[in-house]
Symmetry: C2
Subunit: 335 residues, 2 copies
C-alpha cells in the first residue's frame, strides 16, 4: 500500500549505498557498527519491509516449504503437520499449510501455485493414487502417508494393509464372523489398502470373503460415519454385521453416535474399530479401539527426507512405518 519504501529509499535516507543496506540485512557483521546503526535507524523510521519477491527472484532461495494436506479438519493430519513443522523449524524454514479438502482440482491448483512460488519443497498427501501429476517440475516433492506409485519421489508411509489386517484379525479373534468395512471413496489409496488388509485377515482365519460387507462412504468425515450407521441398522438382521472396521476414526465416531442415537449398544450390538487413534478416539462415548500410526514421526521423517532432497547424490527413499492396534472398550469381548 502506501508509497512502498524500498531498499534504495533507506539507503538514501541513511546516506549510504543500497549495497550497504543489503549488507546490513544479510551480513550485519561486515558493515561498520556506526553505519549499521544509522541504517537500522533509517529502516525503522521509514517502516521498511524487505520485499521477499525481489529477494527470492535474485537469490533463488525461498525459506518456505508447504504441506498440501488431504483434510485440515482431520486431527490425524494436523498431528502429522506438527511433526513437519518441528522439523522445518529446526532447518530454519517456515511451513505453509494448504488444504486440498480431498478435491483433486484444489490439489492441482495448490501444486501449481507452489511450483510457481518456487518454495523450497512440497509435502503432499495426495487425493488420488494414479496421478502422475507430480511430474518433476523443479521443486522437490515428498509423498506423505502414501507410497510413491512409481518410485519417482521420496515417500513416507505406514503399512495400511497390515493395519487393516490387525484391526480385522482382532475382531475375528473376539468372536465376530460378520464384519462391516466402512470407508471411502475407494479412489483413496489408504482406504483400498486397509480394505485389502481386512480381506487378508479373513483369509488367514479361513473365513469367506463375503464375511466382509463393504459400506462405501463418500468421504472420511464424521457425518458419513453417521450415514453408514443408518445404512448398517437398515440391513436385515440375519445379514447384519456384528462388528465394524472403519477406515478412520472420524467415521468410527460418527458410527458410534449413530448407534447410540438408534438405541444400540457398542460393543454389545456392534463392535467398532477405528483407524488413526486420534486424540478424540480415547475420549469418545465409548472409548474407541483404533489402529495407531506414528503421526508426528511421519511428519518429521517426511520433512527430513524433503530436506535431503537437494543433497548432491540424492536417491529417492521410501520409508514405511508399522501401525499398532490399541484396544479399548468399543471392541471389548462379548459377555
Amino acid at each position: 500500500m502506501k508509497p512502498s519504501v524500498g531498499i534504495r529509499d533507506v539507503a538514501h535516507h541513511a546516506g549510504v549505498s543500497n549495497a550497504t543496506v543489503s549488507n546490513v540485512l544479510n551480513r550485519p557483521d561486515v558493515v561498520a557498527p556506526a553505519t549499521r546503526q544509522r541504517v537500522l535507524a533509517a529502516i525503522e523510521e521509514l517502516g521498511f519491509v524487505r520485499n521477499e519477491s525481489a529477494r527470492q527472484l535474485r537469490a533463488g532461495r525461498s525459506r518456505v516449504i508447504a504441506y498440501v494436506v488431504l483434510d485440515a479438519a482431520n486431527p490425524f493430519f494436523t498431528d502429522v503437520a506438527r511433526g513437519v513443522e518441528d522439523a522445518a523449524r529446526d532447518a530454519g524454514l517456515a511451513l505453509f499449510l494448504c488444504n486440498s479438502a480431498s478435491d483433486d482440482g484444489r490439489e492441482r491448483e495448490y501444486l501449481e501455485l507452489l511450483h510457481e512460488q518456487r518454495v523450497e519443497g512440497i509435502l503432499i498427501t495426495p487425493v488420488d493414487g494414479e496421478s502422475a501429476q507430480f511430474a518433476e517440475r523443479g521443486t522437490p516433492v515428498v509423498l506423505v502417508d502414501r507410497e510413491s506409485p512409481d518410485g519417482t519421489h521420496c515417500s513416507v508411509a505406514v503399512d495400511d494393509v497390515l493395519g487393516g489386517e490387525l484391526a480385522v484379525t482382532h475382531l475375528i479373534e473376539t468372536g465376530h464372523t460378520r464384519i462391516a468395512m466402512v470407508g471411502g471413496p475407494l479412489s483413496i489409496q489408504q482406504v483400498r489398502d486397509r480394505h485389502e488388509g481386512a480381506l487378508r485377515a479373513l483369509t488367514n482365519a479361513g473365513l469367506p470373503r463375503d464375511a466382509l460387507t463393504v459400506l462405501e462412504t463418500k468421504s472420511l468425515q464424521v457425518a458419513e460415519g453417521r450415514g453408514a450407521g443408518e445404512r448398517l441398522v437398515g440391513l436385515p438382521a440375519s445379514r447384519r454385521p456384528t462388528a465394524a472396521f472403519c477406515a478412520n476414526d472420524l467415521l468410527a465416531l460418527g458410527l458410534l453416535q449413530s448407534m447410540t442415537q438408534q438405541g444400540l449398544k457398542v460393543p454389545d450390538d456392534l463392535a467398532v474399530v477405528g483407524y488413526d487413534d486420534i486424540e478424540f478416539a480415547a475420549a469418545a462415548a465409548v472409548p474407541l479401539t483404533s489402529v495407531r500410526q506414528p503421526r508426528e514421526q511421519l511428519g518429521r521423517t517426511a520433512a527430513s527426507l524433503l530436506l535431503s532432497e537437494n543433497e548432491p547424490d540424492h536417491e529417492h527413499r521410501h520409508v514405511k512405518f508399522q501401525p499398532e492396534l490399541v484396544v479399548r472398550a468399543s471392541s471389548a469381548v462379548k459377555r
Copy 2:
C-alpha cells in the same frame, strides 16, 4: 533445480518475443490462435513453470491470503479456516495456513514473513491481546475471533463475555453453587472474556465471586483438561465444585476423560460445560453441553472484510456475533 527455463527460452524456442509469451499467459485472446498454439507447445515441451516471484515483483499482486491460526489442532479453528477458504476461493485467492501454536514468537515470525511476501492480506487469531505488533505495514490485517483493541484493524469476533455468562447461568439454574472455571493462560483474551462472563453470571444470580474457583491451565489442549481434572478431584470435598465451565471443548473433553478415569460420574458428580461446540463435543463419552459459535461464518465474514480492505473509501469494521448455548447430557439436571 535443472537449468531453469524462463519465459525468454520459451520465446526463443517458439520463435517469438518474450512479450508475446507473456501475452499468451495473461491475455490469451490478444494473440493470434496460431502463435498461441506454438507458444503453448513450446511451454509444454520445455516444461516451463512461470516464476511467481518475478511476476509478483513486477505486477505487485499476489493471489494469496494467509490465516495465522492459534492452534491448527483445534477443530474450532479448522472450521473457521474452512469458512475463510470458501470466501477466498470465490475471490480467486489461495489460502495459506500458518500455525502459531499459541507461541507469540512464531506468530511474529509468520507475520514478518507474510508481510515480506506481500500477500494480499492476513487474517490472524492473535496469541496475545496487547501487542500492537500488527502495526500498519502495508498489508491489510483482519483480526479473527478477537476484537481489535484500538480499532486500527477490521475484526470479527463472538461475544465471549456473553458466552461465559450463558454457560454459567445455565449451571446456576441447574442448581450449582460451587463452580470451577477451567482455562488459561489468562494472557489469552478469549479466556479472560469468558471468565468475566462467568463472574457476571454469578453477580446476576446474587452469588458471591468466590463461588467460582479458577483453575488456570497452561494451554487450551486436552492434556491440560485432564490435569485440571486431577487437581479438581484433589480439592477437599467441602470446597470441591459440583460443576465446571471450561474455556473450550478440548479442555472439557480432557476433564471428562479424567473424571471417568477417576471413577466419577458426569454430570452427577460434576457437571461440565465446554465452549466452541466442536463436532467431537456431541460424540464425547458424555455428550457435552457447549457454547456454540458460528465458526464458518466467522471465517467467511473475516475474509470478506479483508477483501473489502483495499476498496477506496474503506473504514475498519468490527463485526460481533452472538454465541448460543447447546445443552446436552454433561450438564443434565441432577436427579
